[in-house]
């Protein structure tokens, strides 16, 4: 894998930086990391950018992660792009909701960088 472009969607700038740091430290072939503060902002980014992977929080203002995932198929650039949820919401029903909405993976906070990287790796390998 190389030249991977990732979109991180989280209302917490600190969490975006933490995830970005995890991605940079791993040997995942990351070329560019884009950021958005909520689902609506992310849809706007995807209207003019193509990415290979989306990492998304659930609890966000304006548009939450579940609604964002549901609306993704309406964006041409986002068709087939895998989404991994990264969130404090760890109940079974949240996982089911996320996967039913179209998410490909689920990571619960707090997490280790190794966990994030292994989940991302498996999702990206599954895509290829």
């Amino acid at each position: 894998m190389e030249n991977i472009r990732v979109l991180i969607v989280d209302d917490s700038s600190v969490m975006r930086k933490i995830v970005e740091r995890s991605l940079r430290q791993a040997n995942l072939g990351i070329e560019q990391i884009l950021e958005a503060g909520n689902g609506a902002e992310a849809l706007g980014v995807l209207n003019h950018e193509k990415v290979d992977l989306i990492l998304c929080d659930i609890n966000m203002p304006v548009m939450d992660g579940l609604e964002f995932v549901k609306q993704l198929p309406t964006v041409e650039n986002a068709k087939g792009v895998p989404v991994v949820m990264i969130t404090t919401e760890g109940s079974e029903s949240h996982v089911v909701q996320a996967l039913s909405a179209g998410a490909r993976g689920y990571i619960r906070k707090p997490f280790t960088p190794d966990l994030v990287n292994s989940r991302i790796l498996s999702v990206l390998e599954g895509k290829q």
């Binding site: 917490s12 919401e89 029903s93």
Partner: protein, 162 residues
Amino acid sequence: MSTAQRHPIPADARESWAPILELSAREVFSLMLGAELGTISEPQAEQGLNITSMVGLAGSLCGLLSFRCSSKSAVLMASKMLGMDPGSVGDEMLDAAGEVCNMVAGNFKNKISGMGDGCQLSVPTVITGEDYSLRALTNERTIDVRLIFEGCPLVFSINLHN
């Protein structure tokens, strides 16, 4: 937050929540900051805890989870979370305090059986300063957990509404 159904949790079950809150905090610091929290062996002065972050709980558990720390602690937390030099940390310290509170709240509710689905969290709010009084519209006693991070006290509290 309107979708959460209320299933009141027995008051006696809450007696055991202090250790769960402590474990939740320890896990967040261990996994996200690579830091082990110490135990307070004797009462410590809590002056200087000038950063308070709060996350509201709604649904099967109503109330407020708050986290108090000093600016020095918040800078160190941001530094460890983001891999930054402490001297270059700015507003990130407030975001870090809010995110720690958010993760502790999420971790806490996920550890209580039956809570994950029925309890929802607000986005975190962070306030600075010590000269204030906090009145949450709760009517049960507060659960407090005091721990040490890099030599400085941290206080995690839950105010519950019956």
